[in-house]
């Protein structure tokens, strides 16, 4: 549909942009900021993005006249046909020319007088590099009836960052991504999904009330997570205990080697108690070193997560087209969470490298807790995955409300960013610096995004796009309850407890 005609301004038309006077054709809002339009040029069909829309009316150009005419109490439109003088001018930035070989930059301006049309969905899908047949559908392109189906390889070949302030819809968007991954047909290629669920928001995927994914989803509670001590080397102990010295690690490795030998000779797997006992009894270790080592080991033991075997078995926990939710909502200690995730990530990554696990996606909620810009036990392994995961199809989906606190190394490896509303200027600046596609205009739009709309930039799309995230198919988690409801529920529970206690007495 025609939306306007290119006009001449002081700046253009130029190879990079043009303005056009908007044709209303009976539509109340004929064109919107952020919409894609197309027009013919000497170089081919150009796609442009509307960056601004201005309304002008000569009757309202002089404030003093408007005030004077309306002083009598009459509106200007009851004196003059002012509405007939309203013009809409749209500024568009040319994104590129669609050619057989892909997208090319424009080098020649469109002609004034050229008709501008709404971009056709097929043209747009091709231009944006979407995959209408088998892509991951996140929602609809804003201002267009085009389903945004991101090509799986482009999206997950590297890593994804889902960024946005609290309440902006990050978890919602992540749910949509996960639903899409779980719904994929075998012939389209399926990946395994591991979700590190800090707030217990993802368990609803395994519950009824919406689309039923329970057959494809396994939930492991934090309290059930176990780290199999026989699977740990001294190097890995040192990862959990960064202050452990090289000498202490060497002595610990000797003990572990000894226990491994015994285990393989038929004595069965060992736990942290056996390691501690063996360190205590080992007369060859210097007394001072021994005490320090025991201090570290008792510290780990107090966490209550070190057992004789892993739970779950990370190598077999991930299946194509299935999701494993690691619900850490019942763990308060950040250190404990970091140790568990550091271990799980390494086990998963190694399993994938050895081809014992399928290609997988590790979704990290509150990613800044696990790979912050500062130090963290889990940071090293996540950075390794960020750097090397691409080669093994082990992808990260980093979800964070504080991108400024995320490790720069990890964030820079996220080649696709799904950005929801962010208003914090530091976070905005950080996001801007992390992607050259995010211009000042786009950054400004990020801060005014409504909940449920996201900006997608990076490898998955050829041009930054705004997407209205589709509705979830699974049931929404109870986190959506209001403050009033939560307060009522707490009081009800407390009074019940008091009554029970009274009855017992």
């Amino acid at each position: 549909m025609e939306v306007g005609t290119v006009i001449t301004t002081f700046e253009g038309p130029s190879p990079s942009g043009f303005s056009f006077v908007v044709t209303c054709n009976g539509r109340e809002i004929p064109v919107r900021r952020g919409q894609f339009v197309e027009l013919e040029t000497e170089e081919g069909k150009a796609i442009a993005s509307v960056v601004n829309v201005i309304k002008t009316n000569r009757y309202f150009m002089r404030a003093e006249s408007v005030k004077e005419y309306e002083r009598s109490g009459k509106t200007l439109t009851s004196i003059f046909p002012a509405d007939r003088w309203e013009y809409i001018i749209a500024d568009a930035r040319i994104v590129g020319i669609q050619t057989g070989g892909g997208l090319e930059r424009t080098t020649f301006p469109p002609s004034p007088g050229q008709k501008v049309y709404e971009a056709e969905p097929e043209t747009l899908a091709r231009f944006l590099g979407l995959n209408p047949d088998g892509g991951v559908e996140l929602g609809k392109l804003r201002h267009h009836e085009l389903p945004v189906k991101l090509d799986l390889t482009k999206l997950l070949r590297k890593h994804v960052a889902i960024l946005g302030m609290s309440g902006s819809g990050k978890s919602f968007g992540t749910h949509v991504v996960i639903e899409e991954l779980l719904e994929r047909a075998r012939e389209k290629g399926r990946v395994g999904v591991v979700i590190v669920d800090v707030h217990g928001e993802y368990s609803s995927l395994a519950e009824g009330g919406g689309a039923d994914y329970s057959d494809h989803v396994t939930v492991v509670r934090g309290r059930d997570l176990q780290i199999g001590v026989p699977n740990l080397s001294a190097h890995q102990f040192r990862e959990f205990l960064p202050d452990m010295s090289e000498v202490q690690a060497r002595e610990l490795q000797r003990v572990l080697d000894e226990l491994h030998r015994e285990m393989h000779s038929g004595k069965g797997p060992f736990g942290l108690d056996e390691v501690i006992e063996r360190v205590e009894k080992n007369g060859e270790i210097h007394k001072q070193l021994q005490q320090a080592l025991l201090g570290w080991l008792f510290g780990l033991k107090s966490l209550g997560i070190f057992e004789r075997a892993d739970n779950p078995n990370w190598a077999s926990a991930v299946e194509p087209g299935e999701a494993l939710i690691v619900d850490l909502s019942d763990i308060i200690s950040l250190r404990k969470k970091q140790i568990l995730i550091a271990y799980a990530a390494r086990r998963l990554f190694n399993a994938r490298k050895n081809l014992r696990a399928p290609p997988f996606v590790l979704c990290l909620e509150e990613a800044h807790q696990f790979c912050p810009e500062g130090t963290a036990i889990s940071k090293g392994v996540i950075e390794t995955m960020a750097r090397e995961g691409r080669k093994f199809y082990a992808s990260l989906v980093l979800i964070s409300q504080r991108p400024v606190r995320l490790s720069t190394t990890v964030l820079s490896q996220a080649n696709t960013n799904i950005i929801l509303r962010v208003t914090n200027p530091y976070d905005l600046e950080h996001i801007k610096q992390s992607s050259e596609c995010i211009t000042g205009d786009v950054a400004e739009m990020i801060s005014s995004l409504p909940v449920g709309e996201a900006l997608i930039v990076g490898e998955a799309v050829n041009h930054p796009i705004f997407v209205k995230i589709r509705k979830r198919r699974s049931r929404e988690s109870a986190h959506g309850m209001s403050l009033e409801e939560a307060a009522r529920e707490f009081e009800l529970r407390s009074s019940r407890a008091r009554e029970d206690a009274k009855a017992f007495m």
């Binding site: 006249s65 004077e68 005419y69 002083r71 009598s72 009851s78 004196i79 003059f80 003088w85």
Partner: protein
């Protein structure tokens, strides 16, 4: 150190400053005098009876009072059409170009508000290009260009009357040709003028036939006829028939020179209050005046109306085909006042403001045509005048 150039410059500034001061002083003095004279007329405006002025038939003033209150039309169900034209011209070597455009804005008022707006022929019609190949001198070309603009307006106005209809048709400017005795009798100019007279007559006929009131609103009138009548026919009678204070009598006795050198609007600005109009007077009473318009020449009248407090009065001219000038004037004044009173410092009918905006041509329109001609002729043909081809 002061250079010779600085001294000359400084001297020049002093001279300019003195001239400006003189101009300001002169304006103040003249205004003060006008204000004093107008105050006397204002004081007596209800007691001056000009019905029995000793003047020969036909009388210049057709009403008995100098000033009338105007009741604004309620605009309950009125259609007012406003016609305006735009014109651009360019002199080239061996060819002159005129570009004209005329538009009618037709306002339909319901219940005191503008309810529908129509345009004739369209909202923004294509301008008409008129090439002039006759070797006219600069003054003749200017005359022809202005007449062509007026011709476009009049022809369009006649079409509006025949095709659309309205209660009142307002022209932007006078309702009579303004070129009498002002041009040499060049063939092209004379021919255009004849066409203009025909167009005026056609319009008058069409309006009379359709019972449409036709009036012209002259934005910036330079007319002096009202003061001329006042000076020659009213002033002496006032002094003789009214008990004036001594100072007032002497002011009026000394006013002749000032009134003879003032424009009507400059004086009437002090005499009229917002919502008042002057008496109706004949457009011209000289035997040969408006002779080209034949029978219509004697049916043209004018008055001034002050629609808003901080703007000069507006000159309104109208054609009275039925011999009821007062009645016609009241109707015209009532409509013009109703649609001109919204801005305290700009009293012009809104329909003409709109028509003016639609008809206005921009220089670029003419450049496009000029460039198209040059392109087709080729770069070797010199069309532009030297003044437009300066090397530096």
């Amino acid at each position: 150190m002061i250079t010779v150039q600085d001294i000359v410059c400084q001297d020049g500034r002093v001279e300019l400053e003195n001239t400006l001061a003189e101009i300001v002083e002169h304006i103040r003095e003249q205004d003060a005098k006008r204000c004093r004279i107008a105050a006397i007329f204002k004081k007596l405006k209800n007691s001056i009876n000009i019905a029995n002025l000793a003047e020969q038939e036909p009388k210049a003033i057709v009403e008995d009072k100098l000033v009338f209150n105007v009741e604004p039309d309620a605009l309950l169900n009125v259609v007012v059409a406003g016609v305006d034209g735009g014109m651009l011209s360019e002199a080239l070597h061996g060819l002159d170009l005129i570009l004209t455009r005329a538009v009618a804005a037709i306002f339909h008022y319901r219940e005191g508000k503008l309810s529908i707006t129509d345009y004739y022929p369209t909202e923004i019609p294509e301008p008409r290009l008129i090439p002039v190949t006759e070797p006219l001198d600069a003054r003749e070309f200017e005359l022809v260009a202005n007449m062509q603009r007026q011709l476009a307006e009049l022809r369009l106005a006649t079409q509006v009357v025949n095709a659309c209809g309205a209660d009142v048709l307002l022209l932007d400017g006078s309702v009579v040709p303004q070129y009498v005795d002002r041009f040499p009798h060049s063939k092209k100019v004379a021919e255009t003028y004849r066409n203009l007279i025909v167009a005026f007559s056609d319009l008058y006929e069409a309006c009379a036939k359709s019972n449409i009131l036709i009036a012209g609103a002259v934005k910036d009138s330079r007319g002096t006829r009202f003061l001329d009548i006042l000076r020659r026919k009213v002033l002496q009678a006032m002094i003789e028939e009214h008990d004036l204070l001594k100072g007032e009598t002497s002011t009026l006795l000394q006013s002749d020179d000032l009134l003879a050198n003032s424009r009507d609007t400059a004086f009437l600005d002090y005499m009229l209050e917002a919502g008042e109009r002057s008496c109706v007077f004949k457009y011209a009473d000289a035997p040969g005046a408006l002779a080209d318009l034949n029978k219509w020449g004697q049916k043209i009248y004018a008055f001034y109306i002050k629609a808003v407090p901080y703007d000069y009065p507006l000159r309104a001219e109208f054609v009275d085909p039925r011999g009821e000038p007062t009645k016609t004037a009241e109707r015209v004044a009532s409509i013009v006042y109703a649609i001109s009173q919204h801005h305290d410092a700009y009293g012009l009918p809104s329909v003409l403001i709109e028509a003016d905006a639609r008809a206005r041509l921009v220089e670029e329109d003419l450049y496009i045509i000029h460039d198209s001609i040059i392109d087709r002729l080729g770069p070797s043909v010199l069309m532009d005048l030297r003044r437009n081809r300066r090397p530096f």
